[in-house]
Amino acid sequence: MLVGIPLEHENSALEPKECAVEMSQYLVKVAETRCKASFARIFGYFAPRLRSYALKQLGNEALAMELVQDTMSNVWQKAHLFNSEKGSPSTWIFTIARNIRFDMLRKVQNRKEDICADDLWPVLCEQTPDQNETSLDEQITLEQIGHLFDELPEKQKVVIEAIYIDGKSQQEIADELDIPLGTVKSRTRLALQRLKGMLSEYD
């Protein structure tokens, strides 16, 4: 419990600029030592202001409080991403709130665009790439293969598809297509040679 940590109500009258230095120092303390007292100062100053912004933007008390909660949670958890050289604490915290609001409205309005706030204003991105991007190379290779595959002559394509996608044996294919087994084998070999050639051209 947080008994004993006083909330600073009285400094609410300060202009954001006047307290920028002070708030920066609190943010650094939160980042370095998880200092709850410092966070309480930041919270006491910004939470009521964020709520006022959120109410104006969202026009709904519950959503407004959700916006405050999400914003301040991010401040607590990601204080290490604050960089005083890039801007003041109020600018940083405001951009976090603005981004959350953008994504909240996206959800509320059920918009289907695949564009979220992090893409537009990457304030909370670690300077390292996303985890889920690792599969990218693989995906592109598959796409490329799909593309190359489309360039195969129709007869070879049918055979390759039957073997590698449907998992049929060459004999089954020969029976199905009513062609000699030798023809299936040579089409397979030709197709693979061709794919191999096309792939090495890509490199």
Binding site: R49, L55, S88, T134
Partner: protein, 225 residues
């Protein structure tokens, strides 16, 4: 030299977060390439922040005490360690042996990009699925390539990623952000040795205005999609 920038109103709405997502994406990508607009955005953001956070809600809500307690129960976000850092994602797209570095805001689109397909007259396009109304494409104009003269039923936004093109109205260079509406008729053409790569979003099919290209109109929903 970048000559075509978003309007001040668009920059303001972008900073407020009230501009449409797709327009915001275009502006964000433009700012990646245009330090002039990036500085404006930074200044507008700082101003907006101090204005919006100037006023505190009148009474201190007792719910805040509980919220504060809850938040500080949460652990800090894990910082990614260098050891487990995943491979750097692709930041470029390739076509015909050429490699183009994308502005940061568009890099995520590399994995959403479809295959390149050839259009008429030295034009290539690769669709990007953004889930928007309308269509987004990377379009590459080879040297000497021309898009048939057309106008727009809706609006078209184009960001020049690499190269130069002209359209009978103006000359455009890398970083230029171009808005076109029904008032504009143009025929983009590139004479740059390296051709020109653009990212373009249209909300309605194009309407071709001249010569044989008019025959394309019944199919223009297929073309440029």
């Amino acid at each position: 030299m970048i000559k075509f920038h978003p309007t001040p109103e668009h920059l303001e709405q972008f900073v407020e977060g009230t501009l449409s997502p797709v327009e915001s994406l275009m502006i964000s990508a433009h700012c990646d390439m245009c330090s002039h607009c990036q500085k404006k955005v930074d200044a507008l953001t700082a101003d907006l922040a101090s204005n919006e956070l100037h006023e505190a809600a009148e009474s201190y809500d007792p719910d805040f005490d509980l919220m504060l307690a809850n938040i500080t129960q949460q652990p800090a976000a894990e910082r990614p360690s260098k050891a487990v850092m995943p491979a750097k994602p692709a930041t470029t797209i390739e076509l015909d042996g050429k490699t183009f570095e994308l502005p940061k805001s568009l890099q995520r689109l590399v994995k959403k990009k479809g295959n390149w397909s050839s259009l008429v007259g030295k034009l290539w396009q690769s669709p990007v699925d953004l889930g928007i109304d309308g269509v987004a494409n990377f379009i590459y104009i080879e040297k000497g390539g021309t898009v048939p003269e057309h106008t727009h039923r809706g609006s078209e936004m184009t960001l020049v990623i690499n190269g130069e093109f002209s359209d009978g109205l103006n000359d455009y260079d890398s970083g230029d952000l171009i808005y076109m509406t029904g008032e504009h008729t143009h025929a983009p053409r590139s004479d740059a040795p390296e051709g020109c790569l653009v990212f373009s979003v249209v909300d309605q099919p194009l309407h071709f205005t001249s010569g044989l290209a008019r025959l394309l109109n019944p199919f223009s929903h297929l073309f440029f999609r």
